[in-house]
């Protein structure tokens, strides 16, 4: 757990000179850990991910990524009507030669990966007809079959219903704990980060950030500073396990409900 697989130092990016999206960001992510990136809309979460993935060149600083990475974008759309199996098979690109076609072994690996996520029965179905949660699992299956060591997810639960949010968060934890994958994800849900992340980084704008253990960073004060709203940290027991979660406080709605009662 002590090997650093992603490290960035004094990282900054500006689309136009002087207009910094973020500046002087530094952090180190350990192998097999889950790292959450949080910040309000427009703070540059996706830009930071693109810089880390090499899709954008940083204006300042450096990024070191030690391992094969797979990216799961926020909304995964495909132009053509590929089957689920075709989509997962594409994860074998590094194993298949430039002028070669995927072998039977590659197809078996893809099917095994789909089976692992419990969606092998969708193998011959069109990818674009699946629900958002199912698509996320297909992309997870593709990442797994590609032998990726680092999984980078851009708001993986943003378009999902509650059950699928839990399914995806559950798999994020499993892939980290059981497969040793390093996972970096952005989220708008502090309680998701608190539930699954080992470490978190709050993007407060400019060169301001708070980074560290998720339990320490995701405090009521820090989140108030990040979002400008109040959140309450709640601790409770459920089936013999202790849990913590963050609940937003809605000032007007709370007063209105109390008056109604």
């Amino acid at each position: 757990m002590s090997n650093t697989v992603i490290e960035f130092n004094n990282l900054g990016h500006a689309y136009r000179p002087g207009e910094w999206v973020f500046q002087n960001y530094s952090a180190a992510i350990q192998q097999g850990s889950i790292f959450a990136l949080l910040g309000p809309n427009g703070c540059g979460k996706t830009t930071l991910l693109k810089v880390l993935l090499g899709a954008l060149k940083p204006s300042t600083g450096s990024v070191v990524m030690d391992g094969r990475s797979a990216f799961v974008p926020q909304l995964f759309q495909v132009t053509f009507d590929y089957s689920v199996l075709d989509m997962v098979l594409m994860g074998r690109a590094r194993q298949v030669g430039l002028f070669s076609q995927p072998s039977v072994e590659d197809e078996e690996a893809a099917m095994a990966s789909l089976d692992r996520f419990g969606i092998a029965h969708f193998a011959r179905h069109p990818f674009h007809e699946l629900s958002g949660g199912e698509r996320q699992l297909v992309i997870f299956a593709r990442a797994l079959v590609s032998d990726a060591e680092i999984l980078i997810l851009d708001e993986p639960t943003s378009a999902l219903d509650l059950k699928n949010q839990i399914v995806v968060l559950d798999w994020i934890t499993r892939l980290s704990h059981q497969d040793g994958l390093t996972i970096l994800f952005t989220t708008h849900h502090p309680h998701h980060a608190l539930a699954v992340a080992d470490n978190a980084l709050l993007m407060l704008g400019g060169s301001n950030l708070v980074s560290g253990k998720a339990g320490d960073v995701l405090s009521e004060e820090n989140l108030r500073a990040l979002y400008g709203v109040d959140l309450k940290l709640l601790a409770f027991e459920h089936k013999g396990h202790s849990h913590e979660t963050l609940v937003p406080v809605l000032p007007y709605a709370s007063r209105a409900r109390q008056q109604a009662r």
Binding site: A55, A70, V167
Partner: protein
């Protein structure tokens, strides 16, 4: 008031338990015979070639055509005397090169259109849309005006096609839309219009009748030199694209995703651009502009075998060959010598694209 509580199970994340997938019946991809389609189409193409040798101003039965052809091919035979001069001329000089030329042109356009649509992630793309056809036509008319030999026409057509594609991608990149298929298409339309204007300009100052006859798209003056001129680039380019056919699937996911999967996107893209330019330029050089084939045929092939380029590319090549060959046979049957097939492909292609556009609403066209 007590709120209703909904039980949430987190122990098993298998979506079979309660996800929408278990409840919503879904249609399986209707490509049951996808793997057999290319073989059936190959057989159909062979039959079509035989049939094409028989139709025209001087019709023959397949048996008689085969007999003439066998006697012509057999170097030690002395039985040619039993056939009249018309039969020998038709089977030696006129029909075989024309049939092969039409089939190779259609094959090249079908493959090129499919590769372009996959690469640009847009099913509304074809060689004529992104400017490569106009660029090749410009190179061709310059070569004709300069009285260059057939090889010179091909070389200048290739340079023109490649230049047009480079301009299209360069313009899209300048507009910060190198990865946006709509910007690429718009850039292609602009560049195509520019090269067509240049064609008009050269036509104005050059041999207008010769250029017009060439550019309108026809196989009337087919000969064995033209067959060789189109066969070598088409078969070579087709072989390269066939070898890369699975990589085309990866390219169609978009730059960022393909890069993350380990694909060298720029090398692969420029390889496809160069190969497509070569194939289309060879076609334009020997038979002028044969429009719409590269746009329509990939759609029909996709409806038959699905979007996987491993099956789609050979299917589109064979369907393209059948389509152009069939239309050329039709023109030969209607008018002595044949109408310009380029006009006919546009007349048939336009309503076909309109129909496909209407039919495919909500099935994914234009998704980014």
């Amino acid at each position: 008031m007590t709120g209703m509580s909904l039980p949430i199970t987190t122990q098993d994340s298998n979506l079979k338990q309660g996800g929408s997938a278990a409840q919503t019946p879904r249609m399986l991809i209707p490509h049951k015979y996808a793997w057999t389609a290319p073989f059936l189409l190959a057989a159909a193409l062979l039959l079509a070639i035989v049939a094409s040798l028989c139709v025209g101003a001087y019709p023959m039965t397949p048996f008689h055509a085969a007999r003439v052809l066998l006697h012509l091919l057999w170097p030690f035979g002395h039985g040619l005397a039993q056939f009249n001069l018309k039969e020998i001329t038709v089977m030696k000089i006129i029909r075989p090169p024309r049939v092969l030329l039409a089939a190779l042109a259609g094959m090249g356009l079908g493959i090129s259109g499919t590769a372009l649509q996959g690469m640009m992630r847009n099913p509304l793309v074809g060689p004529d849309i992104v400017g490569v056809t106009s660029g090749a036509a410009f190179g061709g008319v310059v070569a004709i005006t300069l009285d260059l030999p057939p090889a010179g026409i091909i070389v200048l057509a290739f340079v023109g096609g490649l230049l047009a594609m480079a301009c299209t991608f360069g313009l899209a990149k300048l507009a910060h839309g190198g990865n946006n298929s709509m910007i690429l298409i718009l850039a292609g339309v602009f560049i195509g219009a520019l090269f067509l204007a240049l064609v008009g300009l050269v036509e104005f100052y050059g041999n207008v009748f010769r250029i017009r006859d060439w550019i309108i798209g026809s196989f009337v003056n087919a000969d064995w030199t033209k067959v060789a001129s189109i066969a070598i680039p088409t078969l070579f380019g087709g072989a390269v694209l066939m070898a890369l056919r699975w990589r085309m699937n990866l390219l169609s996911l978009g730059d960022m995703d393909a890069k993350q999967l380990g694909v060298n996107v720029s090398v692969l893209r420029w390889t496809v651009i160069a190969v497509v330019s070569l194939i289309v330029s060879a076609q334009v050089a020997v038979s002028g502009i044969v429009a719409w084939v590269g746009l329509v045929i990939p759609h029909c092939a996709r409806m038959l075998v699905g979007p996987d380029h491993r099956r789609l590319l050979p299917t589109a090549g064979l369907m393209g060959a059948l389509f152009v060959l069939g239309l050329d046979d039709l023109t030969r049957s209607i008018v002595h010598g044949g109408l310009p097939v380029g006009s006919l492909t546009a007349i048939v292609g336009t309503p076909t694209v309109c129909f496909l556009l209407w039919k495919s609403q909500g099935k994914g066209w234009g998704r980014e």
